[in-house]
Assembly symmetry: C2
């Protein structure tokens, strides 16, 4: 049991490290040579270019203006200044709503913490159960004196906790409802916003049935001409262009090398550069680099042309799916929401995801296969969650001294060295587990891809759900009840349903100090480290030093990343869970959670404004998931409180808790019916209004040309000409007015955000290409 | 434990009673004075009129043709002869598909019974476990020798049962899938059938938001003119006409009495009839009957006119709901499947139920109230299921000798009579329970009505679901594990989840003989009694003797009833459950179930053809429920077999059963995705096809006049003129060609069935009125 002093020490260490991170960040971000690392978003938007301030050579790399170091925390108010509407224009609705999750945490937990400290803490503290217990040599910490553990059995004081459980539940539900309403209306407003987007007019049709007489394209056209005669406009079939995409990728690499050697040759005309044809240019025959790469590029160009020909002509490479565009938003909304065909597994229509959001490889999976794939993944995930320790334990046994000596006896003499021996014993087993946890999001993402989701946003949402479940079982339950998930599962199966909340409930107050430490490490120092972006910083400079050959390379060397919904959201949800579970049990934990939410909000707001480059825009489609998981946390907290109370023998007060989960679930069903449709369907009233407005404003709009190529596979666009990236970059530069990064000046020149960029339909593919 | 002889005796008794019922039925149905009881369906269709055969007076009432008594089981092949398509025309798709549930039972259980008897029975019988046990004084019956109980612990013979469990599951799923497919296509074909139905063009809009400037009617018109400009045709608002309906009902009664006295006076002109104004004409002032009723009718006519005026003019009596009709089926299909408004709880659109299917009082319940109502009913149903014994036990305690003596001491001298005493002791407690069970379907129906379902068909479906659950908990589990449902609940909560199947599984083989007796009483004799219609017979003749005053009264004296989905389907499902659970455990039970399904199929086919008058037509909307419940029975049977095996310590074979429920549930999800939409949505392709056909055939159709009054509240139609029932009856007579009841002759003159009757829009209200 940790004492107050222990926690104080841990807090000091973590605050100190967070402080160090902030200072380092403040220092590093002011250095011009880090500019691309800490402001990539502005580079991508074309609002900032490489630092070319006039002055000494050294000033190009190091900031010598000492005044700028004094206000080293200035980025914080800067990050908070940008109003929400501008943030939506700047970074998209997804990012803006993602930040609202942190705000939601603050909205819920500030009043909860206040109430818990003014009411529950005095109620708990003015008992002497633990002091009496201490006399009997039962250890307890000072934190426990503030918790429910300090109240004697059968006490009437438990009424305070029950009433507060009701108050907290009502408050949480109230905030959740308001937030759901706000986000739903933000989404509708965003969708109804001025800009014309291809996905508003387009529906994705899957499982087009095979027809012996007609091609997929003809079939789609005929079907929609017959069944939506007044609204059908055009369509694009989906090609299976995976091989073509590979070739284009390869050609791009070769072209890049060619550029590099040409640059080298231009600088030093005397020596013609040589290279080796083998692995990484290290082995194989030595050839003239310029000739070699020129011929390679030519060869690949021919191959690409042939492959494109093949894809375009071979009916087998056309998938039974198509993007069908309509004349009006109304027509698209109708088609997306209705069933087309007698057989509901054919002609499946859905809202088309935004063009950048499409996950192309999954477009052709047939319906029956989907059911089976989901079954397989459900089973796989079950085993992953409950039995993942088995392979890791196996690896760990191999990674022990004896294991290595058995597998590779020739290493024996190295292992016997004392230092290496202790390293292996101390670190290797842990590294196996750590490696697994690092790769877990990737594994979950692969599982989601296998399941056949067709948009990046839904892939991320699915992965987030699984990650949350994994965290809940292995981190939350795993920390409360010691033992592997499998052991828990086993004990749960053999326990009565009413005993499970008791088993967990009893253990909860005892683990409060552990979770406080966890919050400080993961939630304080971890978030502070996020802003420093150590990994990106190192990789960028390494790439810049060793690999960057051209300016284009330098652009690509910096991967700004994205908010990473699939890992970020489950992390936040874990804090919601901790906060709600401990609100009535150990209120001492709440301030730590508040600090997390506040700090994370500022940090991520800064990152979203300056760094992250969201790949897609789903218009906050994730909110129902967020809402549902907070509700789940609420129900879990109620059940666990019920279990805890039951063991406290507060028989006359405990039954009053039964109504809470029932009420909470009813509330959830109400919200689901009331707000969820806004995230799934597009109301006809809205569509009609937008159509009418548009018709009045632009009566002669040529919609067909706008929609014609919106949903072309990205590889066809980039393959159209070799240098299209640069071309597009130039185009973009010409189109957008260059303004300084200072936010204040941007107010006067509102620029189309990345989403609106879809109205210059070629832009998004630039980024798509750079992240194959 | 019942021996084979006991079961044989029970079977003999039940077969005998079934035989007696059939003979009685054969005799009674041939008597002309019972004609209206046993052939009401033909009367309602106007294809049969009161027997007026020429001949002796006695032949009007008694059939003296002895040859007709010889072939007393002739109705059976007659019932089976009518082909399914004709049955659909005659009685509607609901009835035809309802019969398919019995066929489904035969399709599943005939091969299952065959396999079980050829494979499992020999495997079970060639053991001697029970004989050895008998030596140790453990009793067991002969039936048990055929069951799984006869196999020793840890035997390898359990593999046979596991393999058969797989075979049965696959066969059941195969049959279920085929049936789902057939029913779905039958439904689509029915909906797409030639006849034009008002509900194909109409959508029910609920929760029209209040508007200060416009009336509901204007608001609806404007909204749909804006949002469905090309398709909106007309609409009808919904009036709150409950009070008006009462007045009309009352007037009808008075009018009827007036007719009666006029008839009486015509026959005997000398005496003017008198009546008393008080209760049932037995007390109160004596008045001239003709004058009294004439004045009453006039008074009510005025009141009705005033009330109609008020309903039509007072905006408060207009509910925020409307039936909106469209120019095309396509337009209606689109509107029913899409979301109209930003706020998904306003402007809720749904397929309009068939006009006769509408449950008018529920049309105006607001959205929020629905959630709360469902919550309240969920809680109420929980208590009803698990605690219904408490009030009954209370009533039973009152109904005991001591209870009555305490409440009503003055009855003591009566009670002390030996006969009455034993009657009270023996019967009253049982009667309390029996009364509850008789009223249970009514209670469940009231609960469903409270929940706000808007069509009679959905009310019946909901009640059926609840009745099934009640049966499962209180009859199935209650019979297997002795004790009240509450005791079970309590023990389940305190048992581990893995122990529950064990507890039940172990008890299952022992209860086989009980269920065999149950099947014979409820499923054989009960079904045979159904065809006799004792209740209807007695009530009809009593009414005919005492109450019938006019020919119209005689028509109304016979209530043909309907298939009663809310009680009938749960009963069938109970046999599915028994059959699937016992298929692997005690195959001896299967033949009894087969007899039930076969017999019930014939009996209900006869009843549907000759008796039942289905009130509404939902186009087999109940099939997804039927499918789901068979799946549930399958999963329960698998879990219980798993539990049973676990106690048999067949450790090396039992784990192979785990996959079964997972596979079954996956199968269900597949079916749900593949076939369920056909029962919820109307595919646009179908709608468009039908529209195009119709436009080609009847280019100048005046759809508006057809739809204008289709969804008028029935009370407005019947109140339009006083004698409309008769008028309509005449109209109907004029329209339909009178043909003899012999089916063969009908083949040549196919008549519009009751559903098609909707195309003569006034007809259904005749029946609607007669069942207020």
């Amino acid at each position: 049991m940790a004492t107050l002093a222990d926690i104080g020490l841990a807090a000091a260490i973590n605050i100190l490290s967070a402080f160090v991170f902030f200072v380092a960040f403040a220092f590093l971000r002011l250095q011009p040579f880090n500019d691309r690392v800490y402001f990539p978003k502005w580079y991508l938007k074309g609002l900032r270019s490489s630092p070319t301030r006039s002055g000494a050579f050294v000033r190009k790399f190091v900031n010598l203006d000492f005044r700028s170091y004094i206000r080293f925390l200035n980025w914080m108010p800067d990050a908070l200044k940008m109003p929400e509407q501008e943030l939506i224009d700047h970074a998209g609705l997804d990012s803006a709503v993602y930040l609202r999750i942190y705000l939601l945490g603050l909205k819920i937990f500030v009043p909860v913490a206040f109430l818990a400290w003014t009411i529950l803490v005095p109620v708990n503290y003015t008992n002497s159960t633990l002091e009496l217990a201490k006399l009997k040599n039962v250890t307890s910490s000072d934190i426990d004196k503030l918790s429910i553990s300090n109240i004697p059995q059968e006490s009437n004081r438990f009424w305070a906790h029950i009433i507060m459980a009701y108050v907290f539940t009502f408050w949480t539900c109230y905030v959740l409802r308001n937030e759901y309403e706000t986000v739903a209306s933000m989404r509708l407003q965003f969708v109804a916003s001025e800009r014309r987007r291809a996905d508003q007019f387009t529906v994705l049709v899957r499982n087009v049935p095979p027809d012996p007489d007609e091609s997929v394209s003809e079939l789609v056209e005929h079907f929609f001409l017959v069944n939506h005669p007044d609204h059908y406009l055009t369509h694009q079939v989906v090609y299976n262009a995976n091989k073509l995409a590979q070739l284009v990728q390869k050609k791009k690499k070769m072209q890049n090398w060619l550029d590099y050697y040409q640059l080298k040759y231009t600088r030093n005309n005397s020596i013609r550069p040589f290279t080796k044809t083998g692995f990484l240019g290290c082995c194989g025959a030595k050839v003239d680099a310029l000739d070699y790469y020129t011929s390679e590029v030519e060869k690949l160009s021919k191959e690409i042309a042939a492959e494109r020909e093949k894809v375009a002509s071979d009916p087998k490479s056309i998938m039974p799916a198509a993007f069908v565009s309509f004349k009006t938003r109304w027509g698209a909304a109708v088609c997306a929401q209705t069933q087309q065909c007698r057989n509901p597994t054919l002609w499946l229509t859905d809202w088309a995801p935004e063009p950048c959001d499409v996950y192309w490889p999954n477009l052709a999976i047939p319906y029956v296969s989907l059911t089976i794939r989901r079954l397989i993944m459900a089973i796989a995930f079950f085993f992953l969650t409950f039995f993942f320790m088995i392979p890791i334990a196996f690896v760990q046994s191999l990674a022990s001294i004896e294991g290595i000596e058995k597998v590779a006896p020739f290493l024996k003499f190295i292992i016997d060295v004392g230092f290496i021996k202790s390293f292996i014993q101390g670190f290797l087993p842990g590294i196996a587990l750590k490696l697994f946890l690092i790769f877990l999001p990737t594994i979950l993402m692969i599982m989601s891809k296998f399941e056949g989701y067709i948009s990046l946003s839904s892939l991320e949402r699915r992965s987030a759900t699984r990650y949350y479940l994994f965290n809940f079982v292995n981190v939350f339950l795993g920390s409360i009840i010691a033992g592997s998930a499998f052991q828990q599962l086993n004990s749960f199966i053999h326990q009565s349903p009413s005993d499970i909340p008791k088993t967990i409930g009893v253990a909860i107050p005892q683990r409060a100090t552990f979770f406080i430490t966890y919050i400080m490490v993961d939630g304080w120092a971890g978030i502070a480290a996020e802003i420093l972006m150590v990994k990106s910083l190192i990789i960028y400079h390494l790439k810049n030093f060793f690999l960057v050959k051209t300016e284009k390379d330098r652009e690509e060397a910096m991967d700004p990343g994205s908010i990473g919904f699939n890992t970020g959201e489950p992390q936040i949800q874990f804090y919601f869970l901790l906060g709600l579970v401990y609100a009535t049990v150990t209120p001492a934990l709440l301030p730590f959670i508040l600090v997390f939410f506040g700090l994370a909000y500022v940090v991520f707001r800064h990152q979203i404004i300056n760094v992250y480059n969201q790949e897609y825009e789903s218009a906050a489609a994730f909110w129902p998931d967020v809402h549902l998981r907070v509700i789940i946390a609420l129900v879990i907290s109620q059940l666990l409180l019920f279990g805890l109370m039951a063991t406290k023998q507060a028989a006359n007060s405990t039954p009053f808790l039964i109504a809470l989960p029932v009420l909470t679930i009813t509330f959830h069903r109400f919200c689901k019916g009331r707000y969820e449709p806004a995230f799934i369907r597009y109301p006809l009233e809205e569509a009609m209004m937008k159509d009418t407005l548009e018709r009045a404003r632009e009566p002669h709009l040529n919609l067909k040309s706008f929609l014609q190529t919106a949903y072309l596979h990205p590889v066809f666009k980039s393959a159209d000409d070799d240098e299209d990236d640069d071309d597009l970059g130039e185009k973009w530069d010409n189109e957008s007015v260059l303004v300084p990064t200072k936010r204040s000046s941007r107010r006067n020149t509102p620029l189309p955000s990345r989403i609106s960029g879809a109205s210059t339909p070629s832009l998004p593919e630039v980024h798509e290409d750079s992240q194959p």
